[in-house]
Amino acid sequence: MSTLNAPLLAGIPEANRADVHHDNYLTHSRGFVSWAFTLDHKRIAILYLVGVMSMFAIGGIFALLLRLELFTPEASFSENPALNNDLYNQFFTIHGAVMVFLFIIPAIPAIIGNFVLPMMLGAKDVAFPRLNLLSFWIWALGAVFFSWILLGGGITTIARVNMEPEAFLAWRNAWGWLFPFGLDTGWTFYTPYSTTQSTTGVLPATMGAFILGFSSILTGLNFIASIHMLRPKGMTWFRMPLFLWGIYSTAIIQVLATPVLAITLMLLMAERALRIGIFDSTLGGDPVLYQHFFWFYSHPAVYIMILPGLAVVSEILSPMCRKHIFGYSFIALSSIAIAFFSFIVWGHHMFTSGQSPLVNAIFSLLTFSVSIPSAVKVFNWLSTMYRGRIMLLTPMWYVMGAILVFTLGGLTGLHLATISTDIHFHDTYFVVAHFHYVMMGTTLFALLAAFYYWYPKMWGRMYPERWGQIGAIVTIIGFNVTFLIQFVMGAQGMPRRYATYETQYEFYHQVSTVGSWILGLGLLIALINLIAGRKGKIAPPNPWGANTLEWQTSSPPPHDNFKITPAAGDPYALRRWRFVHSNDPAVADGWELKPEFRARQEAAGPGHRVEHRGMGDHLGSPEKTPGE
């Protein structure tokens, strides 16, 4: 077992140089209970990592099955068209619901946010560690509900295929309560289909989504309190790492939007179980009200999915380009602006649902305004890259992929925000391609970038660089092959959510399906690579030369991160660090604090918390940055 050479530890206060191989958060205590009931934010992040990525695998398998079914225009799953259509409906519903509720929404905030956020704040933990653990177990309970649907759907389908129709109906009557027949409403649970028509497990699914909402709320609440109360000395609002701005904006949306989903699903459950009728026009209710309620949550939720991804891009770009981030305050405030706009654009999901033309026009205008902060981000990223010394490492490949697909997805969003074109594009593959570009492409690439970027901090090892890059390139190519052609297909009129289609679309579907295989291969390479990295070189505390606080403790961090709180300064003052070669072949190269800054850092003494009296204080406070 090697030890780190002294230069690599320079810049890390003496007290924070834990002997990582004997005491870090991974080895701090052992046994199932020490993990399942840990209050350590880093271990909770690992719990989320395992759970959320398992759900991603399930959702991904269903996505591959969907693409496989669409390879030919005919029904491919079964000779029986009714069975084939039912299976297809259930598959895209499970794919959507699992990916949205169980994967994308918790992915970056709960995995990366939990792991990194307290360390970026120089804190020992989030503000409410017990709430954090509760949040994970609530998530797990929600996952149980969806697993129940999967299991029930599988068993029921087997029974349906193998039993005579009469026997199957009798079996359903006897055991249907235990085995919900999958889910076929789409992840949106639109009424009145979900309340009066569907024979599938709407109640377990909505109950699961309802429960998952509380997990999301508690995580957001925890992050808001942490960012308000736990910032270290020197970290004013405009000295926060941009990742924290993104997570903060996300948390605001989580806290303000998710309760509306909770009440909506509660009313939906009451309607299905008791015929309460608030969304049923035959009982005096209004089905479009459900769409309003649902999208009042779910449109902001789209930004719950993407804002953390944009935050990761903003965070990783600067150290990877060896250049201070360009337009810091614009990127920071654009996150807040996107969070704000996210609440006032939900009506663009209902352009064809019978809204008045005036309302449509207003929502269209407001939707266009989202493009302003989004473009602000993209241009600032490009300006950061311009004349930077770009390190083409794996995280950077994914970040560039994320910028590419976010730009494409954002630009096609303008077509959908335009009412006249949306009437044509509505419910076609154009929409499918658009939201996969922004939600899935951007967020997934950002998540993978984050996995690679914080891999050394999380596991204390370096991943294999070459295969990491190969995986990244294959993933980016596969993604674009899968979804770029869906824009064309959608513009030509291919509707979404159909198992069979006209032969004129066959070529497009086949390209898309082949693309999904490439994408799957790329993700498989990334998975194997990340697992193989556990045997990689030992990681130095700061392998990227980044200046945020999580790199100023050992890799992996000790149980409580910092014995003393480091003082924070400009998070992108990268010139404080210089590259050093490791003198031990088992240890990877890293970056050390330059001697002149080291002296000033030590003279400044250890940091402490700023005094918090709420948001707005200390904005632009003239506090001197140590070493700047």
């Binding site: 206060p13 003496e14 007290a15 307290p118 804190a123 020992k124 933990d125 989030v126 503000a127 409410f128 560690p129 709430l131 709320i217 609440l221 925890n222 808001i224 309190a225 308000h228 109360m229 736990l230 000395k233 806290v255 303000l256 939007a257 998710t258 309760p259 509306v260 909770a262 009440i263 909506t264 509660m266 009313l267 009451a270 179980a273 008791l274 015929r275 309460i276 009728g277 608030i278 035959t282 009982l283 005096g284 209710g285 209004d286 009200l289 309620f293 009042f296 409580d560 014995k563 003393i564 709180t565 003279a603 003494g605 250890p606 940091g607 402490h608 918390r609 005094e611 918090h612």
Partner: protein, 359 residues
């Protein structure tokens, strides 16, 4: 910030020498979690978290209020008719009880801050009693409705289409076993003995307040569904459109059948006492009558659930205060539970006029 040798600071102790010198040389405060630097920071974090949580609660009930508004806009007369079935008096008493319990809770927080533990305990007990009183009255109100068969959803007496058996069970059976006493108070008329003629469903005796819509046996309009034929000898009351309206089921039903707007011919007293009657509603709204009960049970039910959670929290704080946990140094749980209790009170302040007072 003075330069402190970091290695000299034992882990977990507060090294802060800045704004609160009193803490510097003291031992670690007993209630301070390891990841906070000062008790103030911990208290502020808790308070910020609680306020954020209350914001989520407001938004959740906000969705319900929005649903109420849309529902009421779609069915205005149903809601005016539904007013009969709630007791403004019980609602007002409950409002007073809940407001008073908020006062005692606020006083409890103050006594916790002052370290007067016995008074804190007394205030918490009073608050708990207030919550319990609220729930008892809520139970009285609910059981009154349930005795009349006004269950939520398809169990409701008015839901004949979905649940003819339930309708008969809830209405017909209960009518037979029901006394006359409390119905007038609820404003619901089912104890009449008038002999209505099919052509005049509004006919009744002045002052007695009965509305006998029709006797099915005498109905001129044919039954749309033979399965809905009541057993021989049973008198159905509160019959639906298909009993009242020969054109029920036709697209023009609502147009052909005149809306009973006027109370002419009925005594003035009845008009003042009862406002909108079932037969005042047009056909479409008659089929939506249970809407009022649905939103009523959703709103008061969710609020009642919050009252129960609040009572549990107050009980938890009470147990802690009996162990003399709180004082000027540490009163966070009392404060936060108080905030929650005030929110429960605040929501009721909106529910009461929406469900009991608006006519």
């Amino acid at each position: 910030m003075s330069a402190i040798d970091p290695t000299a600071i034992p882990h977990g102790q507060d090294p802060h020498a800045g704004h609160d010198a009193a803490h510097e040389h003291h031992a670690h405060p007993p209630h301070l979690a390891h990841h906070f630097d000062t008790p103030e920071q911990q208290f502020d974090s808790g308070k910020l978290g609680m306020w954020t949580f209350l914001a989520t609660e407001i938004l959740m009930f906000g969705g319900l209020f929005c649903a109420y508004a849309v529902y009421r806009y779609n069915n205005p007369d149903v809601f005016r008719y539904g007013e009969h079935h709630v007791s403004t008096m019980w609602g007002a008493i409950n409002t007073i009880i809940l407001l008073t319990s908020s006062l005692t809770m606020a006083m409890g927080v103050r006594y916790a801050q002052l370290g007067q533990n016995s008074k804190l305990v007394a205030m918490l007990v009073l608050t708990l009693l207030g919550g319990a009183g609220f729930m008892v009255i809520k139970t009285i109100e609910y059981s009154d409705k349930w005795n009349h068969g006004y269950f939520p959803g398809f169990l409701n007496s008015y839901d004949r289409d979905q649940n003819p058996e339930g309708f008969q069970k809830n209405v017909v059976d209960k009518m037979g076993s029901h006394g006359d006493g409390d119905h007038a108070e609820a404003g619901y008329n089912d104890d009449g003995h008038a002999e209505p003629s099919p052509t005049d469903p509004l006919h009744r005796e002045a002052g007695a307040g009965p509305v006998e819509h029709q006797q099915p046996g005498e109905a001129e309009a044919p039954m749309t569904d033979p399965q809905q034929q009541p057993p021989a000898g049973v008198q159905l009351r509160h019959l639906g459109p298909e009993y009242l309206d020969p054109n029920y089921g036709s697209p023009d039903a609502a147009v052909i059948r005149p809306t009973f707007q006027t109370r002419a011919g009925i005594t003035e007293q009845v008009v003042e006492t009862h406002g909108v009657e079932y037969t005042d509603l047009d056909v479409r709204q008659q089929s939506h009558v249970k809407a009022f009960f649905n939103i009523y049970f959703m709103m008061t039910g969710l609020h009642g659930l919050h009252v129960l959670v609040g009572m549990g929290l107050i009980g938890w704080v009470l147990v802690k205060s009996l162990k003399n946990t709180f004082g000027p140094e540490y009163f966070t749980p009392v404060d936060l539970v108080g905030l929650y209790w005030h929110l429960v009170d605040l929501i009721w302040i909106f529910l009461f006029p929406l469900l009991y007072l608006i006519h």
